[in-house]
């Protein structure tokens, strides 16, 4: 009788719903103020939540911890009304005072993502449900910054008070999490796996999965085999483009527009100092000559220096086409030798693009080699331009869908990822002007004008709009992908049919 009861009990207990995913690289931290890399964003956004977010599949902004918000007519004051009943993972209720304490932490200059709140004048909490931010000057991009995947996301008092230590809780948050999200960090074995478990007291919609297992599997071949064997449910990034047209039965492909834009950055302090040489090189590396070979149907020629999910330019960028003139220009300077660097984080596809470029450049008399640039060296190339590569190619992601976050990170003087230190006062002035425009059509026209100047200068060459591609086991639905959220599904919405 006991055995029968036990058997019935086992049968009645619902099986735990587990989603297994893999990262190519380990994550340093899930701290939303410190996690600057792309891998891990999917986990960060279910551990922590921000005030607003982009709606799935769109670039529209919706409330998150804020149920609604208003902006003053002068564009300086943002008033957020917070949801009721939100609790942190340790069960403590979230109030506007917690939000304020967190935002103060985020502004600390030692944290790499503190720049998101540059321009904030003051913050206040008139009541437990209201949080007010006042800006020094109007920032039409401000809400987009708050909806960014790297945006401020509220951390609880367990980290900010009890475990703050002397470093704002950074050390504690390297191994722990204390947010308001639908999942909690249950296990963290560095270099091997991370386990998130469903937050039983979550204030919002209950996720379908009980447990998310994130494995660190550095080689894509192994990930692909694991997916085929059923040991993984999703490959969120890195499935080889040239194998997407023959994914095995039982697997599906989701390809959606994203903010990933392939750009060639030109180091104009060496061989590419000469404008004629730059033009010749641009002629040779025209993406129309290699795009389909590398990406198949999963990329289109760039329309500007902004991803088309940000600004849809009127037509693909027109490259100079006279290869004979390019050959003459190279011959006139007695031949050119170039080094093409590519982002190591995206090595297989970036190296392939670089090697296509080597082949095409040979056709106009340019000898080129390629080398990978580790991600931690990318931003320091500007410190020694003579040792830096002549061209750097990368698929880079801006912070949000507002074009100011593209120019402000990559193109303006002193920008964090302005890899070769390009500086053009005219561009800087136009960017400053554009960042204040509230009419989207007018704003986009201004930013496209900036793109034209940058391309004509031979400093930045827009190559391709690349789709985010996710390969997953058939039966999974509601992936919750967003153009502004790279390499990620939404663990809060995804379910199995």
């Amino acid at each position: 009788m006991l055995l029968v009861l036990l058997a019935l009990a086992v049968r009645a207990a619902p099986a735990e719903r587990v989603l297994r995913v893999a990262y190519n690289e380990d994550v340093a931290t899930f701290d939303p103020d410190d996690a600057i890399l792309l891998f891990g964003l999917d986990a960060v956004r279910v551990l922590y939540e921000g005030l607003v977010q982009y709606k799935p599949g769109t670039t529209e902004i919706a409330g998150w911890l804020a149920q609604r918000w208003s902006v003053s007519p002068d564009g300086l004051t943002y008033r957020f009304i917070l949801h009721d009943g939100v609790t942190f993972h340790d069960g403590r209720p979230m109030t506007s005072a917690d939000v304020l304490a967190y935002f103060k932490r985020r502004r600390h200059p030692t944290l790499p993502l503190s720049y998101f709140l540059d321009g904030v004048d003051s913050m206040s909490v008139p009541d437990p449900h209201t949080f007010i931010i006042k800006l020094k000057t109007p920032q039409p991009a401000f809400l987009d910054r708050l909806a960014s995947p790297w945006a401020p996301k509220v951390i609880g008092p367990a980290a900010l008070v009890e475990h703050a230590g002397g470093d704002l809780g950074v050390t504690w948050l390297n191994d722990h999490a204390d947010g308001t999200g639908p999942f909690m960090l249950a296990e963290m074995v560095r270099g091997q796996r991370y386990v998130l478990v469903r937050n039983a007291h979550y204030w919002g919609a209950r996720p379908y999965f009980d447990r998310i297992e994130i494995l660190i599997v550095p080689t894509m071949n192994q990930q692909m085999l694991m997916l085929q064997r059923g040991e993984l449910d999703i490959i969120e990034h890195g499935y080889p483009f040239d194998q997407l047209d023959k994914v095995p039965a039982g697997l599906k492909v989701d390809a959606h527009d994203a903010l990933g834009l392939e750009i060639a950055y030109f180091n104009r302090s060496k061989a590419l100092r000469n404008r004629a040489v730059r033009t010749a090189v641009i002629t040779a590396i025209n993406p129309a000559r290699w795009l389909h070979e590398v990406f198949g149907a999963f990329a289109t020629p760039a329309r500007s220096l902004y991803p088309k999910a940000m600004i849809r330019g009127p037509a693909p960028v027109v490259f100079p086409a006279d290869l004979e003139a390019a050959r003459r220009a190279i011959a006139a300077v007695g031949g050119v030798t170039l080094e093409i660097g590519y982002a190591d984080q995206e090595a297989p596809v970036q190296q392939r693009i670089a090697e296509f470029m080597v082949s095409l450049l040979k056709g106009i008399g340019v000898t080129a080699t390629v080398r990978s640039i580790p991600i931690d060296q990318e931003s320091s190339m500007v410190n020694d331009l003579q040792r830096a590569p002549d061209i750097f190619i990368a698929q880079d992601y801006p912070d949000s869908v507002h074009p100011a976050t593209q120019t402000g990170v990559f193109f303006e003087t002193g920008a964090a990822l302005n890899f070769f230190g390009y500086s053009n006062p005219t561009v800087d002035a136009l960017c400053a002007q554009a960042s204040r425009i509230t009419s989207i059509a007018e704003r986009d026209r201004q930013y496209l004008r900036i793109s034209d100047i940058l391309f004509a200068d031979g400093a930045f060459v827009p190559l391709a709009d690349i789709k985010d591609v996710i390969v997953y086991r058939a039966g999974l639905t509601d992936l919750g992908t967003r153009p502004a959220l790279p390499w990620a599904v939404d663990y809060g919405t995804i379910r199995r049919q």
Binding site: E355, F356, R371
Partner: protein, 263 residues
């Protein structure tokens, strides 16, 4: 000498010839796309094309060149340095011999491949950095052989006779002692080629060889591993080429040893 070993010795010369005249032999440019990517081996493209559409046959010919000639260069550096150190130790005797012998042993016991990897990584990837650094670590066995051989030969009657007839110093070493050490040196060097090829391939596999897209065999295999299940010829053929080079060098070394014994 067995036929296989004789064939390997012949093959050694053929490979060296291919390595030298490779650029004139190859049907295409090794870095230029000549056809659509991923063309399987066919009559038109004997070894197919790679992920860029480059001719695999061309890249293998250049790959052999970029592997074989540097291997010979490493061996040459090792033999020259080892011979100098070994001969100096044997001739000088006493404290100099003792110090050079300890130095040789030191280089033998340190994990030379690991240190060479670190050194190349510090100097920056590059074929000639690799060759130079490996040369620095590849001499001790040759030094030991030369020292031992010269010490043994120095007591033989022909060396004694030469010494009694007034031959000394460098002339004695070059004319009467060193030539007798050459057979052992040659056999060891030939057998060593296989080891050097493997280490060089390891360096290029790890991205420490010539900068891409140079057709180094190890790097070609490493970069195309993701194609193993879909376009097998791209990672497999360079690996097979490494295998053939290594086996040939080993068999040729054995063949030379047999030949020396016979002579």
């Amino acid at each position: 000498m067995p036929g296989l070993e004789a064939a390997a010795i012949c093959m050694l010369f053929v490979i060296t010839l291919i390595a030298i005249i490779g650029p004139w032999l190859a049907p295409a440019d090794p870095v230029v796309q000549i056809a659509a990517p991923y063309q399987p081996p066919s009559l038109r493209y004997l070894f197919g094309t790679d992920e860029i559409g480059r001719d695999m046959l061309t890249r293998l010919i250049y790959g052999v060149r970029l592997t074989w000639l540097p291997s010979l260069a490493v061996i040459a550096i090792g033999v020259v340095v080892g011979t100098l150190v070994g001969a100096a130790a044997a001739v000088a005797a006493g404290i100099v011999d003792s110090m050079l012998a300890r130095l040789t042993e030191l280089f033998i016991v340190i994990p030379s491949t690991m240190i060479a990897l670190a050194a190349v990584a510090a100097l920056g990837p590059g074929l000639w950095h690799t060759v130079a650094v490996m040369g620095v670590f590849w001499w001790p066995w040759y030094a030991r052989i030369v020292r031992t051989e010269i010490k043994t030969i120095a007591t033989r009657p022909h060396a004694e006779a030469a010494r009694l007839s007034g031959v000394a110093g460098l002339r004695l070493v070059l004319r009467y002692l060193l030539p007798a050490a050459l057979p052992s040196l040659l056999v060891t060097a030939t057998l060593d080629v296989a080891n050097v090829i493997l280490v060089l391939s390891l360096f290029s596999f790890l991205g420490l060889g010539a900068p891409a897209p140079a057709p180094e065999l190890g790097a070609m295999t490493a970069r195309s591993l993701a194609s193993l299940t879909t376009h097998w010829w791209i990672p497999i053929l360079p690996a097979v080429a490494i295998f053939v080079l290594v086996v040939t060098a080993n068999l040729a070394g054995d063949g030379l040893r047999s030949l020396m014994k016979t002579v």
